[in-house]
Symmetry: C2
Subunit: 307 residues, 2 copies
């Protein structure tokens, strides 16, 4: 008898597809369910929608044992804030669920919470509850974050159209090696600004690497994809391979109507002069047009398949 299929055999995307099919159908108030940066919920009596996001950090995966825990707490909150940013939204309320070993020094957990608190203050997030439970294994912390966005400015991954130009904020690659993954700035103001621009069709944040994430946006938009690797903005010391494969950049990837791009770039440079916004490719009409393995030498991050 063949051994049972494991999560590693299937890989993250296929596992999530399988699990999602097991869930009951959502009521009409759920405008966007699993599969985007956040869930989008219709709110009665006003023109805003509610955003819901869960995001986890795991010791040994998202940070190393012995890391400064204040930075890990910052990262835990900012990862979720980045997803709210990717919808054009504003974060509101958070719950913290943390599983830790009982023998952890109190000071370590307090440092972690101080980082959570720093991030909450920086982005006006109210921590309204949570829980601590014990585990015999690595620390696992899940952050639950709510947010809000005017319905007409809520930008999904699925809104991209053939011909849209793909742009990326900041520079990519080397996030883990440089420690930047612990201190990054979620692009909250930038996401809200982009979401209000009439040319913006689709948006997501880059957490698993451009090589994994860009095809996700293209697929959600039922488009193909062309990336000019020469145009990818790389962090110092990084080549294209790191820029598309390292992950944890938490920059925004945005699809903009081609005719809006020149004006948008001019306005962007006036509004955010410190942060580059780079056109790196476009969405195409055919979903066949994109063969990641031909373009990228590094596959991006899959939670269940490691090299």
């Amino acid at each position: 008898m063949a051994p049972p299929l494991t999560l590693a055999d299937l890989g993250e995307t296929a596992v999530i597809d399988r699990l999602t099919r097991l869930l009951p159908a959502s009521p009409p108030s759920v405008l966007t369910g699993p599969g985007d940066d956040c869930a989008v919920i219709q709110t009665s009596f006003n023109e805003s929608v509610t955003l819901l996001k869960a995001d986890s950090v795991v010791e040994g995966v998202h940070f190393l044992s012995g890391e400064q825990m204040r930075r890990v707490g910052w990262k835990a909150v900012c990862r979720a804030v980045s997803d709210i940013a990717a919808m054009g939204g504003r974060p509101l309320h958070a719950l913290i669920a943390v599983a830790v070993k009982p023998e952890m020094p109190l000071q370590t957990l307090e440092d972690f919470y101080s980082g959570i608190s720093d991030a909450a203050k920086s982005y006006n997030v109210a921590i309204v509850g949570g829980e601590t439970v014990r585990t015999a294994g690595p620390l696992v912390c899940s952050i639950f974050l709510t947010g809000t966005v005017p319905a007409e400015h809520c930008i999904l991954r699925s809104g991209g159209k053939p011909g849209d130009v793909l742009l990326v904020t900041g520079k990519l690659g080397g996030s883990f090696a440089s420690g930047r993954h612990l201190d990054f700035t979620p692009r909250l103001a930038e996401g809200q600004w982009l979401a209000k621009h009439e040319g913006t069709h689709a948006m997501m944040d880059l957490s698993d690497g451009l090589a994994v994430d860009a095809p996700r946006l293209a697929k959600a938009s039922q488009c193909g994809l062309k990336i000019d690797v020469e145009l990818i903005p790389c962090n110092e010391g990084c080549g294209v391979s790191q820029a598309v494969g390292d992950g944890e950049d938490f920059e925004l990837l945005v699809a903009v109507a081609a005719h809006s791009v020149p004006e948008l770039l001019l306005e962007w440079n006036a509004e955010f002069p410190e942060l580059p916004l780079s056109a790196i490719g476009s969405l195409t009409g055919s979903a066949e047009g994109f063969q990641p393995e031909e373009i990228f030498t590094n596959r991006g991050y899959d939670h269940f398949q490691q090299p």
Copy 2:
């Protein structure tokens, strides 16, 4: 130099107190923050409030390795539903964050999600997202659940008054030994019914055992507590020690104005003839009146201090 204080040295309640103090102050829209069964958020434009809850199950703590994962999935959702019930609320939307080993068979995770799906259907919960991440340790699953309740029927732990009668639904004890902790029924209809009764002042669900949870309700209400152990409804095969200390009962503990109790019990028996509602004691005027160690021989469940 003394070794650093660990979480086990302090115990769960003291750890949570320390962590809560590190968090920024909440804005006025947060009607109830950390410390109750759910957070309570003021919603604009209508008379309902929003409930937010995070709850986790950990392999080796809340269920044993090798347990039927469909039952574990049921439990994971129903624990959070029970907290919404304890506010008198109705659950709405859930996110699932699960950390698992990559070598887990796909079927195991699908069984877990089938249990999640069963519970979601039973209690009209829309699963709107979540994420799977890998861990090298035990499975950790955090459920984030939103809910709603008319503001005038939202029952906190802190509303109890001296002289209130304490009542408990169902029977207590033996939840782990019997396997009931995996198949329990959250008291959702009962919680909504109790919340609408004008005599109901305070409510919570019993997850850590009456010996730990009843003092939490009394403390939140700035009251003392008297429990008549003879009146505690025990499950078959359980003595008082198990009934107050085993935990994971997920029954409701409710404080009701004494003059309302006779009528409430009559109406309860007509509405829920199968489920006992038992008066077990009362809140007192003095917070000095309750000495748990004098009444209970079993301390209830503390996440960081194990016998």
